[in-house]
Every structure is written in C-alpha cells, then in structure tokens.
C-alpha cells in the first residue's frame, strides 16, 4: 500500500509552470508573426489560392464586304475538358465518355497517358467543337461524371469550300515563339491570333479585349462561386472593299483551275475581288488543325496556302507589251515604227520567233495598234531593240513592276524587273543585248505578281494614276487604327502619277479594246455591248534550267489577261492568271465573266431617279398576229399583262456558308 509521503518540491512544479508559460509564449509569438506581421502577405497568398481570374474570351470582329454583307462570322462552340488532377477520377469512365462523345476510347486513353506528367492545373481537352448531341450527353451526366467540364468559345466561321480563303487568312492558337517575343506584350497562352491574310494584318482591330471572371475555387480548381466579371470588349467589325457579288463571280470563274483573279477599282485602288486557286479550308484551323491535315497542306505541291494574287512571281508574257507600248510612244519611237512580221526575226545573231509562226503564219505589216491586238512579237522585239533595257526598265519601274504594291496583306512578293544595274548587282555580269529582246515580250528575267501587273495596267488605263491596292480603306476605320495602319504601310505611297500623253493613251487603249474582239487575240472573250479593253499573255511557267531539272514533268504555259472596263474612265480592272491555261484567250474569258458580273450588277442597281416598282405593273397591248383566214394574212390582237419589275436574281446576303 502506497502512502502519503514526501511531496514533489514546489520549486519543481514552478519550473514546470514556467516551462509551460514559455511554451505558450513561443506559440503566441508564432501566431503573431503569421497573423499580425505577416497578415498581408498570407492574405494575398490565400487569395491567390482561392481566387482565380478566368479569361472571358472576346469574340473577334466580323469581316464584311463593302456593302456590309457577312464574309466571316463567329459561332459558339463547346469544348469538353477535364482538369489534369481529376484525370484519375476519369479513368474508370473512359469507355462511357468515349461512347458519349463519339471519340475512339483508344485515342482518349492515349491522350490521358500523354499528359500524365503535365502540371496539375492544366486542362486536358477531350474534344473540341462539340456537337449538340455531345453537349446533351455531358449535361445529362453531370452527376455521374462531375469531372467532365465544358467551356464555350467563339470560334471563327469561315465561308465553305475555301471561298476567299487567301484574303481572309485564318486564326489559330498563338505559337510559343510569338508568345515569347517582345512584340507580344499582352498576349496570353491560348489566345487565337490571325496567322495570315486579313486576319493577321488586322488582328489588333479584329481581336477585341478579353474580359475577366473572378471566381472562387477549391483546392481542386472547381469553381465554387462567382465573384465578379469584367465584361469583354468584342472585336470590331471590319469592312473590306471586296464586293461579294464580284467575288462570287471570280470564284466561279476560277473553279477547278489553278491561278488567280483580282479585280480592283482603278480610281481608288480598292480591291473588289481576289481569288487564288487551289484553296484551303480555314475552318480546319478555327478548331484545331490535326497534324496530318497540316502536313498535307504544307507539303501539297500545289501550295494551297499560297496566295498567288500577291505571291506568285511569274513572267508576265505579252501583257508586258503594254508597258513597252507606253515606253515606245512616250519616247516617240513607236508611233512611226512599222515592222514586217514574217514569223520571226534575227537579233544579235539569234533568231527570235513570233508566236504566230507556231500557227504557220505571219503578221505581215505591223504598226503599234496591230502589234497590241495581235500581240506581234516581232514588233516588240524591234521596239525593244530601239528602246534599250534602260528605258524599258525606267517605264516598267515607273509603273511599279519589280516592287511591292503595298497591298494590305502579309507576305507580298517583290517580283523582278531586270536592268543593267540589277544584273551587275545580282549576277556580277554584264547585260547582254539579246536579253533585252526577251524582256520586250515579258519573258527572260521579268517576274511580276498578278497584283503588280494589275496595278501597272490600271495606272496606264487611268492615264498614269498609280494607286496602292487595298482591301481596307483606312478612312473608314476609327482612330487610332486609321493612322496606325496607314503608318504601317507608309513606305508604299497611296497615290502616284506617271505622266502619259493622252493621245498616246488613246492609241494604246483603243488597240487594247480590240483584243477581246474579232481582230484580237481573245475574240472569244468579247462582251456584246460592254466596252472592255485588255491584253492577253501566254508565258513560260519555268525557266529552261528548271525545266531540265524537272525532266519528265510537263509544264504548260501560263495564260494571263489584264483588262479593264469601260475603256475610257475605267471603273474596274481585272487581272487573271490561269496557270497552265496555255493561251491568254482562256484567261481573258475568265476576266470577261467578272467584268460581265460587274456591269450587270451596275445595270441592275436601281437609281434614285427611277426606283424599281415593287408591285407588278399592269399593261395593255395591241398587236397584229398572223391569221391565215383573213385577207391580209393578219389580224389584230390585244390583251393585258402583268410585268414583274425588280431584281431578276436572288440577292446575295453573305458569303457561302456564313449566315
């Protein structure tokens, strides 16, 4: 039995008490340090934990034609994703999800496996651009599959079948390099940016400003509460100078062919239509282009991503003879030049053929007019010999050949206008006089882009007024965009002038008006009742050296045509490059389709003076009809009719596939 005995000395209990006091003081200091001194810091960290800023994506602006008709629009698209740290929850349900979303389960598993090492907070996209059935599946399985989440995005809706694809360009997710570059100070990962065409050029204007949603989340990133939202600013709508009616006509003309058509208002430089073939479908990029599709696009030898209107650099062929004519007449040589074409001629010891020789013919006596509408090579060989490369280059450069036009599209090509200086600089070689002869008919080293050639002919057609071709009129943009974009292209003057004597001009355009006619090289492109002038060209596709390396392959000549209407005070100029078209006449036919569409539209358009009536108009008429029984063989007949006035065709309201 234990009994009462010596107690513990009170001093030891006091020491224990002091030790406890000390312990508690230490703990209080710890609390003070965190809660009073460190409060601000930890408050911020707690907010950083719980409060997330989620971007609310701003829709990009629409792209419209000159009359405000939709070319590019947006559509709401749903994306299914899981947060990376919830992938584990997802694993047992992969088969159900794969079936519900209509994706192969193996593909889903592969993706889950791939992202196993990625950061916790990263979302894993399971499927883009969900169909309404997919969305319904997710909505109806909220409880069984809570880890499956969706977000809405505004995706680009581009016209179908690659309509106008090269002008519009496309958007895709911002690349790593762009994101890291200095130019991109407010970019964020996942931003959709324009990668080519108008989408790239006017990205800043179209993109809008993303909003921000402040949400409270738990430790798994699940949104618990909405705390507030800064609304987004939608991108501004961009009006192009394109006329959808003409664009459609140009697209139809180019269907199934390779090449390019451009139509422009020669007085302002406004591009009315621009087509390049083959084309691609920008809608592929709007979602997420698959690796295979992308490889197919960039390795396709036909280069569907290439905008031939501004990037193809080819020999202009006989279209160049117009520049020759202007040079010749302005220099006072061509007016009095008479040449006898016997199917070819010797220059500097070499025989240069006229194209007519291939048809076993000759042009006979040729002056400037016939030289143009019959495109006589011998005439221009002779003119070239007399002018010399220096004067030819001076005029060609004056009309902008071998220079960028400054069109508001990215990656315009420069082209080449050779000269003595050019040859020395690039080849360290002297210019041979024989080369001048080739250049005289637009062959040899001359290489132009369709837009360049169009601008040159447009300038000549308007008496020497050069205009910078453009798809957007800066005056139509609000500040500061108008000045900003104007400045970006400031080194390409909007207007220029190269004096041409009006008499000379009349001779040249007069001859050009005969090209699409019975006397000319493109009789089948004739448009009855429309005063339409132009010049054909048929040019070698590749140099002779290239032809050797690509032996076995067959390269047909390119057909060119640049024309305008009406002949005097032209309103529209059209350039056509028909690759492999063999003869300029076939290009001229395509151009005539566009010009016809333009003129018909003009004629259809109601004027203010005579509004087209909406109600049918009743009229009465009296006429004589053949009648075998009557003496005169005729009888008088009469009746009432309703005439339906108004537009004969259904009006186009948007680009195909964009409603």
């Amino acid at each position: 039995m234990l009994g009462r005995d010596e107690k513990i000395p009170p001093s030891k209990l006091s020491i224990a008490q002091y030790a406890i006091v000390a312990t508690f003081l230490v703990l209080c200091v710890g609390l003070w340090r965190l809660q009073v001194s460190g409060n601000e810091k930890y408050q911020a960290q707690a907010e950083g934990n719980s409060i997330r800023e989620v971007d609310v994506l701003a829709p990009r602006g629409q792209i419209l034609d000159r009359e405000g008709r939709k070319i590019v629009d947006n559509y709401p698209s749903f994306t299914a994703f899981v947060m990376r740290d919830r992938v584990k929850d997802l694993e047992p349900d992969v088969d159900a999800i794969a079936a519900g979303l209509n994706v192969p389960a193996s593909q889903l598993r592969e993706r889950l496996r791939k992202i196993a090492s990625r950061p916790q907070s990263e979302p894993l996209i399971l499927k883009d651009d969900l169909t309404p059935a997919d969305v319904a599946f997710i909505e109806s399985h909220r409880n069984e599959l809570p880890e499956l989440e969706t977000i809405t995005e505004h995706r680009r809706l581009y016209p179908t079948n690659g309509f106008m694809a090269h002008v519009i360009g496309y958007v895709s997710e911002i690349s790593e390099e762009t994101l890291n570059s200095d130019a991109c100070f407010d970019c964020r990962s996942g931003d959709m940016v324009g990668q080519s065409g108008i989408e790239k050029m006017y990205n800043d204007y179209l993109k809008g400003k993303n909003g921000k949603r402040r949400v409270e989340v738990n430790n798994r990133g699940k949104v618990l509460r909405e705390l507030g939202e800064d609304a987004f600013t939608a991108g501004k709508n961009l009006k192009l100078t394109i006329d959808l009616d003409l664009q459609i006509a140009a697209e139809e003309a180019m269907e199934g062919k390779n090449g390019s058509i451009i139509a422009m208002d020669p007085n302002s430089g406004e591009i009315l239509a621009m087509v390049s073939r083959p084309t691609f479908d920008p809608n592929q990029f709007a979602v997420r282009i698959s690796h295979d599709d992308w490889n197919k696009l960039i390795t396709d030898p036909a280069k569907p991503l290439f905008n031939k209107a501004i990037q193809a650099q080819l020999a202009p062929g006989s279209v160049f003879k117009i520049i020759m004519s202007v040079a010749g007449m302005q220099e006072g040589i061509a007016q009095n030049l008479h040449v006898n074409c016997g199917g070819g001629k010797n220059f500097y010891g070499r025989f240069f053929k006229c194209w007519i020789s291939a048809k076993h013919g000759a042009h006979g006596d040729v002056a400037i007019e016939k030289g143009i509408y019959q495109s006589c090579d011998v005439f221009f060989y002779t003119l070239g010999e007399k002018l010399g490369i220096g004067r030819i280059a001076k005029y060609a450069q004056g009309f902008g050949l071998g220079q960028k036009t400054g069109i508001d599209l990215p990656q315009e090509a420069t082209g080449v206008m050779p000269s003595e200086e050019w040859k020395i600089k690039n080849f360290k070689q002297k210019w041979y006089a024989g080369e001048t002869i080739s250049v005289s008919i637009g062959q040899g080293a001359v290489a132009t882009t369709p837009v360049q050639l169009m601008r040159a002919i447009s300038a000549i057609a308007t008496g020497g007024n050069l205009r910078r071709p453009h798809l957007v009129s800066y005056d139509s943009l609000p500040a500061p965009y108008n000045d900003k974009y104007r400045e970006a292209l400031a080194r390409y003057p909007e207007k220029g002038h190269f004096d041409i004597n009006p008499q000379n001009l009349d001779v040249i355009t007069g001859a050009m008006a005969n090209v699409p006619g019975p006397l000319g090289t493109a009789p089948s492109a004739h448009l009855e009742g429309i005063e339409f002038a132009g010049k054909t060209g048929s040019a070698q596709t590749i140099s002779n050296e290239a032809r050797k390396t690509l032996k076995g392959a067959e390269y047909k000549d390119n057909a060119w045509f640049v024309g305008f209407a009406p002949r005097r005070n032209p309103e529209i100029v059209v350039a056509v490059l028909f690759e492999g078209g063999e003869h300029g006449q076939f290009a001229a036919r395509l151009a005539s389709q566009v010009i016809k569409a333009y003129v018909e539209k003009k004629r259809r358009t109601p004027t203010h003076v005579a509004q087209s009536p909406t109600a049918p108009i009743e009229i009465s008429a009296l006429w004589s009809a053949p009648d075998a029984d009557s003496e005169s063989g005729e009888r008088l007949a009469g009746g009432r009719f309703n005439i339906h006035a108004g537009l004969p065709k259904r009006r186009i309201t948007s680009a195909p596939g964009v409603n």
């Binding site: 030891k12 340090r33 965190l34």
Partner: protein, 364 residues
Amino acid sequence: MRRYVSFRDFDWTLLLFVLLICAVGVMQIYSATLNTKFAGAHIKQVYWILGGLLAMFAMSRLNYQALVDNVHWFYGAACLALVAVLVVGTKYLGAKRWIKLPGGVHFQPSEWVKLVLILLMAKFFHELRHRETNFVDIAKAAVLGAIPMLLVLRQPDLGTALTYTPIIIMALFLGGLQFKHAIVIVAIAAALVVPVWRYGLKDYQKHRLTTFMNPEADTQGKGYQSSQSIIAVGAGGIWGKGFAKGTQTQNSFVPIPQTDFIFATLAEEQGFVGAVGVLLLYFVVLMRLIANAQTAPDRAGAFVIMGVVAVLTFHILVNVGMVVGFMPVTGIPLPLLSYGGSSILFTFLALGIVMNIRMRRFVN
C-alpha cells in the same frame, strides 16, 4: 474512508474549461467539414465527448492508488497489445496501428499506452521516494519507456512514439534527475541522432523532417500541408475571417482540417484573438492541473497529474507548433479540439484519473 470521497471535491472549474475547449472544437469541426464528405463529424464528436465524460466519471470512482499498484499488469498487457498490432494489425495508409475488434471497432493500443506509462512512471518513482535517484534508476526508467516506444516506432508511428518522451522526461525531472545525469542523457541522445536518421526512420518520416526544414522548396508536393496551414493562419489576421468564412478552410486548402490542422482553421476563421483565446483556455487547464498536483495526497498522485500535464503540453506544443510552422508535420492531434474518438477518450480518462486524485486529497 469512502465517505470522504465526494463529488464536492470534483474539480468543476477544470471541467468547465475543458468543456469550453470541447465546445470550440465541435464548432470548428462543424465549420471545417462543411460541404465535405466528413460533414456531420461534429455530431459524432459530441457523442465522443459525452462518452469521454462518462469514462471520466467512471475513472474518478476508481481508486487511483489501486491502479498505480497494479500498473505492471497493465504495462504487460499494453506491450502484448502492441506486439499484437504488429502481428495481426490492420494496415491503413502504410502503417499498422489498429487492431480490428469484433463489431467493426478499430482499437489503437498506442494511445492507451500513454496512460499506462504515466501510471508506471508514477509507481516507479513513488517507490524510490526514500532515496536519491541514481543512474541505474534512470536507466531502468528509460528502458521501461523505450520498450513500448520501439514497438510503436515499428508500426511505424513516430508521432505517437514521441508523445511518450515527455512522460519519461517529466518523471525523471520530478524524480530527482541530477544535472550530471541530464548531461549524459543529452549526450547519448545526440550520439543517437545520426544512426536513428540513417537506420531508424522511414523515408516518409525523413521526408517530413526535410520538408519541415525547407517547406517552400516544393509547395505543391512535400511542403504543401505545412505551407497551406501557414497561409491559413496568416490570412486569419487579428480578428479572423469569421465562422465558416475562411477560404483556406472552406475551399479545402488546409489539409485534414478537422483533425491535425483544426487549429489552423480556428486561427483562420477566429483570427489571432480567437487562437490566443483558445491557447489561454488550455493554459488555464494546465495551471489548474498543476495546482491539483500540488494538493495530491501522495507522490504517486502528483506524478500522475504531472504526467498528464506533460502529455497535454507536448501535444499542444507539437500540434500548434506544426500549424504555425515551428514543427514538422507529425500527425499529432490537438487534445479536446481535434476530431477523433481515441484522442478524446484518452484525454477524458486522463482527466478522470486527475479528478480521482483530487477527490482523494483529504483521504489519509
């Protein structure tokens, strides 16, 4: 003799403060488990507290001296139970700590060993009351404590094993440990650090310690629990975010918020004022216990009470120290505040023995 033992001598003040802490605990458990799969844990906690109170009253009816007299039987049984855990225990989260009893109850013997150890030390030093403590006594006491400790370390459960040390240290201190002995003990402990680190600790235990040394190195991985707890405490500020309004707590950033990190949730939602207030409650409880030790009828009683004081203080120091980032993450609950039956029952049983001793202070 029996008539002198009366509930009039029950320490009602002590019980009041204990229940105040329990009440705060129940509220905080409610807040911490709101909208989680543990929702409703506060109700279970109330049942545990009621059970604890019953156990406490039952315990106070027993004669602590009889318990002390027979502690060697309990000790033997406890050691057997610990061996049984190692042999037939249930493995959960990588450690064998529980024995599954019929009826689905999980029994964790290591928690009860504390009580046995307190009584054992009391008996050991009570019997030495007539002479100076010598080095052999100290070694004997150390071995008695080391056996269950090593068994618990084998489970492995470093946290619980550590809670045995304050009992032994307190006993040695009160039992007349001499300064020279203390130096030798510290020297031996220091010499053991390296071998224990290398061979004695499991990887996860080393992990916790290294994380504790440098929690910011990897806030998403190792140091996550510690840094989230510190953020919660710091974000609370002076007045706190308000009941059930702490984002760290409510949005599940604070790990295991109803048990080990309950104090972090309290500090976030009730602020510095609330946290220090609760510490004051604990302080009152501890001071009250020491006062009871002073009036204990014998040396054994004083040893028992001081053993309880040592265990409670150690729990508070390690748990709150962990929450404010002074201590590594060890999984030691905060007595009376943390959710959990074993912890609550142990604390109330320990208090029961204290009451028992107090009620017998006038018994000769």
